[in-house]
């Protein structure tokens, strides 16, 4: 037996979207825990020999709650301490814990989180986390010592698939090259010249936007820009707020802004109405027609009249629900009707239209000018010749977590992923060659793990003109995300096929703002500036690094841990000021610090901790004063 030391060379730490009582790590399952919400895989190497063991455990089981986030941070730190450690061969092979193990599991500052020595409940939770992590590692090392058990864990395909369906958050992974994106379209089966590869973006806002949790960032982004322009905010719902300044008031609901009128939204939310409006004006819309629910006979006749391939979609659909693209025969069309019928919008009118080949683009037009063009590529990974597809997905998901808009939209393993891999003759264990792109989804939706790539710098001016003209033709539409299908965005209209799929009058505002690849564009900033310009109001931007606001929160906000929740987030975001109760149903706070940190917290205030029921949050500008720290006033 070799007497060389063993080294920890690879660790995977994955959080589940909710606790599961059925174990997927079949050979090792932390006894005592009734439900697991994380998975830990450790690989050790000695002289070319690799041993892998995996275990599941349960910590901080209330997903999305502040304590859960602290547990994840703690586990991630334990994993980073463990990574690269040297293990003495005798001790390792006997299955006992290394001497350094106590140091690996030491409580971190974020786990302690200012818990005072008298806060017994908090200390017992911390102690319990440390002890259970130590015991868990003990089981891992015991398994690693038994070579056979370890090998089973590593090669179990069902395990990998089950894991992917549960994976919410990839916490820790070994160092790997960052994923890249290379644009290389194909026209009539012929690959075109590739563009320069793009590296992934990383945004500092991700940490500051943590208070938002699962809340949609759309409304926060609009609020952020209104606050930057000196407007005071009154928020009455997760997506609803008004911004006012000197008697001038603007209303917002998610990304619905005063740049859109009600007739414009009614036109944009009905795909057939959009086509009937744009087609006579000469815009490139796919040929198609709407049919009442269940009129499949006439729809099939029509598909044959215009010729396959066709697309079937609900007339008033959103988020790709019920859409079936690239239907090539009557049989496929019949299956598509079945898919449509069983979708949430299946009882509504539907459209059959000609399928246009090309990539999916969202072009943002604000005030008649194109501000951003984002290519939405289906979920994919690019091989490096070393990692298998499962690992490449985990690595990519790790990078997606650096982008606020994609943080909660990881690539997930689903039936659709399995179908795509089957089509390419691959499995999660396949190791793609360096540079080979593997497509993992048929949908370009970002929530299905798709990539967002800003390509405005490459887009041909003739396509930009078509987008601007189409939006200008619709009255009351000064904010629009226009969806195009384009074969090659670098070529002029005429040399490449293009088609307008739909107009979105309340397009997700974070798409271009936080892209995975390519230069991000601050679309919410452009939108709010356009609102002011349209209303002939001056632009008065405040410095983004230091603003001060007073926040008044009304509703069921006392006796529910609201101030503690508020103080924790304020301190994490590096804000100063104070928070105090000023009545039986009102909390007042003063915040000073960065614009992003402040507005993320004020947006999240309408939700607060789990027991709170705030009804309104008022944010008012103050002159900047100097607070050294954040204080919770009892």
């Amino acid at each position: 037996m070799s007497q060389d030391p063993f080294y920890v060379t690879r660790i995977e730490l994955i959080a589940y979207d909710k606790p599961y009582s059925e174990p997927v790590a079949r050979n090792i399952w932390a006894s005592g825990a009734t439900q697991a919400n994380f998975y830990l895989k450790v690989a050790v190497t000695c002289a070319g020999e690799e041993r892998v063991a995996a275990i599941e455990g349960g910590l901080g089981q209330r997903s999305g709650k502040p304590m859960a986030a602290r547990y994840w941070d703690y586990l991630e730190t334990v994993a980073s301490r463990l990574m690269g450690s040297e293990l003495a061969p005798e001790k390792f092979l006997s299955g006992s814990m290394p001497a350094a193990a106590r140091k690996w599991v030491e409580a971190t500052d974020s786990l302690i989180d200012n818990a005072g020595p008298l806060d017994k409940r908090q200390w017992s939770k911390i102690q319990s986390a440390v002890t259970s992590t130590y015991k868990l590692l003990g089981k891992v090392f015991k398994a690693l010592a038994q070579q056979e058990a370890a090998e089973t864990a590593a090669s179990d395909t069902a395990l990998v698939e089950a894991l992917f369906s549960r994976a919410q958050n990839v916490l820790y992974l070994p160092e790997a090259e960052p994923p890249t994106y290379t644009y290389q379209p194909t026209i009539k089966g012929k690959p075109q010249t590739p563009s320069e590869p793009l590296s992934p973006n990383s945004s500092n806002d991700t940490v500051l936007m943590l208070p938002l949790g699962t809340m949609d960032a759309k409304s926060h982004l609009m609020e952020r820009e209104c606050v930057r322009q000196g407007y005071n905010i009154l928020r009455t719902g997760k997506g609803v707020f008004t911004a006012d300044n000197n008697g001038q008031r603007f209303y917002f609901k998610l990304s619905r802004s005063p740049l859109v009128s009600i007739d414009a939204i009614s036109l944009c939310t009905h795909k057939e109405a959009t086509r009937e409006f744009l087609a006579p004006l000469g815009f490139p819309v796919p040929r198609g027609r709407m049919f009442p629910a269940g009129d499949y006979e006439n729809a099939t006749k029509f598909a044959n009249l215009i010729g396959y391939p066709v697309v079937v979609k609900p007339a008033t659909g959103v988020r790709g629900i019920g859409v079936v693209p690239n239907i090539t025969s009557d049989t496929e069309l019949k299956s598509a009707f079945h898919v449509l019928e069983s979708s949430k919008l299946g009882h509504d009118d539907f459209i059959v239209e000609k399928h246009i080949f090309g990539e999916d683009y969202r072009i943002m037009v604000i005030g008649g000018t194109v501000r951003a063009a984002t290519l939405r590529a289906p979920a994919n990974v690019t091989g490096d010749g070393k990692h298998n597809i499962a690992e490449l997905i985990l690595i990519k998901n790790r990078y997606r977590q650096n982008i606020p808009h994609l943080k909660s939209r990881p690539i997930v393993f689903s039936e659709a992923t399995r179908y795509q891999l089957d089509k390419q003759g691959l499995t999660l264990h396949s190791v793609p060659t360096a540079g080979k792109q593997v497509i993992l989804s048929g949908s370009c939706n970002l929530s299905q793990g798709g990539d967002s790539v800003n390509i405005l710098h490459e887009m041909h001016p003739s396509i930009i003109k078509v987008a601007e003209d189409a939006v200008k033709a619709v009255p009351g539409l000064d904010y629009c995300g226009i969806d195009f299908l384009i074969e090659d965005h670098r070529k002029p209209v005429g040399e490449t096929d293009i088609g307008i799929c739909e107009l979105n009058a309340h397009a997700a505002i974070g798409t271009a703002c936080y892209t995975m690849f390519g230069e991000p564009v601050n679309v919410p900033r452009d939108a709010i500036e356009e609102v002011l310009i349209k209303n002939k109001l001056p632009l008065t931007p405040l410095p983004e690094d230091n603003i001060a606001v007073q926040v008044n929160i009304r509703g069921k906000v006392t006796g529910v841990g609201y101030r503690k929740w508020f103080a924790r987030h304020a301190q994490r975001s590096g804000l100063t000021g104070y928070v105090k109760n000023i009545g039986p149903r009102q909390v007042e706070a003063v915040l000073q610090g960065s614009l992003v940190g402040i507005t993320a917290l004020t947006t999240a205030c309408i939700r607060g901790p789990s027991e709170a029921l705030p009804t309104s949050v008022r944010t008012t500008h103050l002159d900047v004063t100097h607070y050294d720290e954040f204080t919770l006033i009892p």
Binding site: L234, T236, G237, V240, T242, Q248, R249, F250, Y251, F252, K253, L254, R256, S257, P258, V260, S261, I262, D263, A264, I265, S266, L267, T269, H270, E272, A273, E276, F277, P280, L281, G282, R289, M290, F291, P292, A293, D295, F302, L305, A315, T316, V318, R319, I321, K344, L345, H347, D348, D349, D469, A470, K472, A473, P475, G476, A505, H506, T615, S616
Partner: protein
């Protein structure tokens, strides 16, 4: 009013209430436009010149209306009107009196009952966010048992499609999961909140606001069915209407409903409350009894003078998305006969699903037929768009 207009108001009365306002605006705008384009969900565009690809998109911008509501109203403001909790908070902060009410999620009927007991019966129950064109409310709820029954009944899911005429085309799309009870019956998602409000005693006062000014003030005493024009309501109520309009900046046209003790006496803290705001002016309810007022309001909404609705005219119409030429011919002939219109129908182009025809007759009847076809009112062969020149 001449005989033709009587026929028009008679026809209006026979159409679903939610389509009447749109037809009134259409009857005003169609004769004043070079081209009208009627699209699904009561969406109508009126062009001053016939649009062509060569003319350029910016030069041919039409005026848009949806369900008779002007496109001058901005989207988030209208969404605010549909969200009772949002406009109540805003009005309260601006010092406008609103009816005593509280909202709760669908998870607990007990909270509703507890609050109803606290404020005292009778109460009114309504969804916090209105996703339909009509106002949904149940009033005269007198006790706990009635409230519990009606709460459950109102939450039961009605099979509503996005293409239904009653569905608001500009409301937020609701995609949260339906709640299914132990018997398999489907209910609105539990997150959908309902509001319990104190039912007020007194007269209803309706103020119609256009561009920040009160253009009509009507009252309806308790128990009465018709609105009465009230020229001498106290100026302080008009000031309340203007204040509400100022709060809802971005709504060029707005209906404000109040309950008041006496509209002739000055408004004070305890003699009036705002009970509803809406983008729907509901002119169709006034046209028979208060024609001049209705005309004045409609002329502001439609941004044109009221045309001579009985004047004879000829229009060219193109219907799109037609499948069955024979059924269309039969139905179209029947509708034209009922409205005493002359009809010259071309053959259906089966490839494009388009059909052209020429219609002649009184203006109100031409507007009515095109509106009936655009919105599939009582017909089976419903086109996807109607274009009139």
């Amino acid at each position: 009013m001449d005989a033709s207009l009587e026929n028009f108001t008679d026809l209006l009365g026979k159409l679903p209430a939610i389509t009447r306002e749109g037809l009134l605006v259409h009857a005003m705008r169609m004769p004043n436009s070079a081209q009208s384009l009627l699209l699904p969900r009561q969406l109508a565009y009126y062009y001053q010149q016939i649009p062509t690809p060569e003319a350029g998109a910016e030069n041919i911008k039409p005026s848009g209306y949806v369900c008779g509501v002007s496109g001058r109203n901005l989207l988030p403001e209208v969404n605010f009107c549909q969200d009772i909790r949002a406009w109540r908070a805003r009005l309260e902060r601006s010092g406008v009196k609103v009816v005593k009410a509280a909202s709760f999620s669908g998870r607990s009927i007990r909270d509703h009952i507890r609050y109803a007991r606290k404020i005292g019966y009778p109460v009114v129950l309504k969804p916090v966010i209105r996703n339909t064109l009509f106002e949904e409310y149940i009033k005269d709820i007198k006790n706990d048992a009635e409230l519990e029954f009606l709460f459950r009944q109102s939450r039961e899911l009605k099979k509503q499609k996005a293409s239904d005429l009653s569905a608001s085309p500009y409301a937020m799309t609701r995609l949260s999961e339906d709640h299914i009870d132990e018997h398999g019956r489907k209910f609105l998602p539990l997150s959908v909140r309902y509001m319990v409000e104190k039912q007020q005693q007194g007269q209803q006062l309706r103020l119609i606001v256009a561009f920040g000014k009160i253009v009509a003030a009507l009252t309806k005493p308790a128990g009465a069915k018709q609105w009465q024009q009230s020229a001498d309501i106290h100026e302080s109520y008009k000031a309340v209407g203007r204040k509400v309009a100022k709060v809802l900046q971005g709504m060029d046209f707005l209906r404000v409903d109040l309950i008041v003790d006496n509209p002739l006496e000055p408004a004070s803290d305890d003699n009036h409350v705002v009970i509803a705001l809406s983008e729907h002016l509901k002119c169709y309810k006034l046209i028979t009894d208060h024609f001049d007022t209705t005309q004045a309001i409609l002329e502001q909404v439609a941004e044109c003078k009221m045309p001579d609705l009985s004047k004879q005219a000829t229009i060219h119409v193109e219907l799109s998305g037609v499948s069955n030429g024979l059924r269309l011919k039969q139905e179209l002939t029947d509708v034209a006969n009922v409205l005493a219109l002359g009809l010259k129908l071309d053959e259906l182009d089966e490839v494009t699903g388009r059909v052209h025809f020429e219609l002649s007759g009184p203006t109100w009847a031409l507007a009515s037929l095109t509106w009936i076809y655009a919105n599939g009112l009582g017909i089976n062969e419903v086109p996807t768009s109607v274009c009139c020149r």
